[in-house]
Subunit: 424 residues, 2 copies
Amino acid sequence: MVKKLSTDPYKGVRDFYPDDMAVQNHIFSAMRRASESFGYEEYAASILEPAELYESKTSDEIVNEQTYTFIDRGERKVTLRPEMTPSVARMVAGKRRELAFPLRWYSIQNFFRYERPQRGREREFWQLNCDLFGVEGVAADAEIITVAASVMKELGASEDDFEIHVSDRTILDTLYRDTDKKFSLGLAEETHRAITRLLDKRVKIDDFEQQLSTLLNGNSEAAAWLIKELESRKSNPSLEALRARLAERGVNNVIIDTSITRGFDYYTGMVFEVFDTDPQNKRAMFGGGRYDRLLELFGDEKLPAVGFAMGDVTARDFLDSHGLLNTRGSTTDLYIAPVTAAFVPDAEKLADELRRKGARVAIGLTDKKVGDQVKVALKKSIPFFAAFGEEERGGNVRVKHLETEQEESLTREDLAEFLIGKRA
Amino acid sequence: MVKKLSTDPYKGVRDFYPDDMAVQNHIFSAMRRASESFGYEEYAASILEPAELYESKTSDEIVNEQTYTFIDRGERKVTLRPEMTPSVARMVAGKRRELAFPLRWYSIQNFFRYERPQRGREREFWQLNCDLFGVEGVAADAEIITVAASVMKELGASEDDFEIHVSDRTILDTLYRDTDKKFSLGLAEETHRAITRLLDKRVKIDDFEQQLSTLLNGNSEAAAWLIKELESRKSNPSLEALRARLAERGVNNVIIDTSITRGFDYYTGMVFEVFDTDPQNKRAMFGGGRYDRLLELFGDEKLPAVGFAMGDVTARDFLDSHGLLNTRGSTTDLYIAPVTAAFVPDAEKLADELRRKGARVAIGLTDKKVGDQVKVALKKSIPFFAAFGEEERGGNVRVKHLETEQEESLTREDLAEFLIGKRA
């Protein structure tokens, strides 16, 4: 007896049926348009990376609890990448002498994290990563934020739909040193990093102040001081300059917010997060920042780098909650339905003719009734439909727009151009 | 001391720097155009699948020696998919009642096999998979082969560059039964499958006849008879009908060749392979066939299915050896070089204007000399270049085509349209 296999995908990953894929391609194509309009070039790496790539710099939680890491048949320890930045840093370091800087690179790739699947969080997700290598300073920081804002606009968002919160890691560094000095704590570098990660999770943690105080050698006075000071250091000349630069470029929804830290250890300067302004859903959707020292991991000199990553799941949720997710259009222009199977070869000839002219045509290959074939085309959201029988062998083709039920009679010669012209 | 990390990718996988990615996108876009012109819709699944999906039907060699299989943090046995067919069968079986048949589906996805890396073989590779579900018979078989031929044509191949070899698994089934009967061998079903897999690897095996004879209970007379008979069963009415049907549709490079078997166990009817005709490289590049019974694995009734898969590595090698791999064009239209950093903000304004009109523009953000910025643009294959200084603040922009060194002076208003019009 053969065991019956389950049709479920692996837990926490998604199947993309054509309707889902159309939404995914809609999101990816907005990401691509925005990135390429700023001269960013596409690159990619494998989902499999040597495990050591994550063992030094990615946040501890991700490495210890959330990576998919295993030993291959050749005894190599490998990881399914949980984020792109280590891979892109590896690639840039690997060809640093050959590449022409500045580099503007983007990728749309998938990632794995072993988390409990929940709304907005899957074990496999996709991300746009945009990075600018080789330029320091406010112009580069402003550019990367402008690209992020452009992706939102390409997705159909207006400036009211989102807010960009900016901060700077150096504010935190100074603050930690000041707290340390004021309360004579003798904090290690690693404690600084732990505080930053804790601040990043602040809204999700109930006993935040308790945990902060633990990190500060149990000094609750120091914890309270740090929280108060963090709030007061909002007026910062470099962040003001960044906001002014963005305003000049038409990006006006920028807020200086020192509570933004980003979880990853590698950030060295500006950090930002894009928030949904919907009161039902007011949360950080994605972000990025400056990470000038990541290439040192590969024994390289530091290299100015700034970038961001935006996930497909948050993008889809945003579109959904803002009513921006319109129903899909098929990639197919026309469905040709032979009235009986005997007409299939001649209908195929017409279809092949139209394809050579650039139209995208599906065709019925069986004896199915024309009415049933209409249903098939409707279910696939194919916009145009044509029955093919004796009349169509020589003469005109009657084409029906399925949504409006409008019919037009066209010559074989005009049909392809008509269909292509009707594409959205 | 911090350990220096290697910049090498994991063994047997590839990094795609922008130049490599441009080639990859060129191949993928040809695959997409051909598939969509026949009304195929894109779908996708995760690279991670439950391991059991491969344990019953994929060829033994792949499952036992070549899969990446590991246990996740929740004790689930998972596999990085080595091929698409089990995943697509799983997806179709999972929504069989909701889907409108016929289904025409395609995907461009990555796969892993643990093999010794060598020319034309990587541990991670990409494949186009095209499948037509729900239609029996020669029209469907001919369509899927026509799509395969169209991909080759979209890649720039002429009919002389490749040959399509077709056969039918039922010829083998009959032949095995005849051999069994004539020599009273009492062969098991599993032996039939083993013979098919052996035939598939025939050209790569030195002691093929020896191994065949072993499978036939050591009967070398039976082995010799089987080989001779296989050759003689080339004239087959259903394959002749398929060839005629393809010729009607303008696919003329079809050869009936009963030595074609395809390795996978799941094929039930027509099988085909596309061969490179280059005498230096005369080998099967890719193929497919009919597999009407795969959905039974999921407890479903059989469903007519025919499809093929084409890999990126063989596609690239083919383009390379036939001189079809032209140098890439950048996705960026124009590089704007501010003559000093003081001009960056105004140059950005121009760039943003052009972007809003659909042009793709990169910009220098530093004090780099214009001559050095020309070199950067050249290295990135960006076609047009413009310096931005005092003159460009108000007036026209002088745009240089870097390859021909031709210059044109254009108004800001006309520039975007000019750049878009120059795209290939």
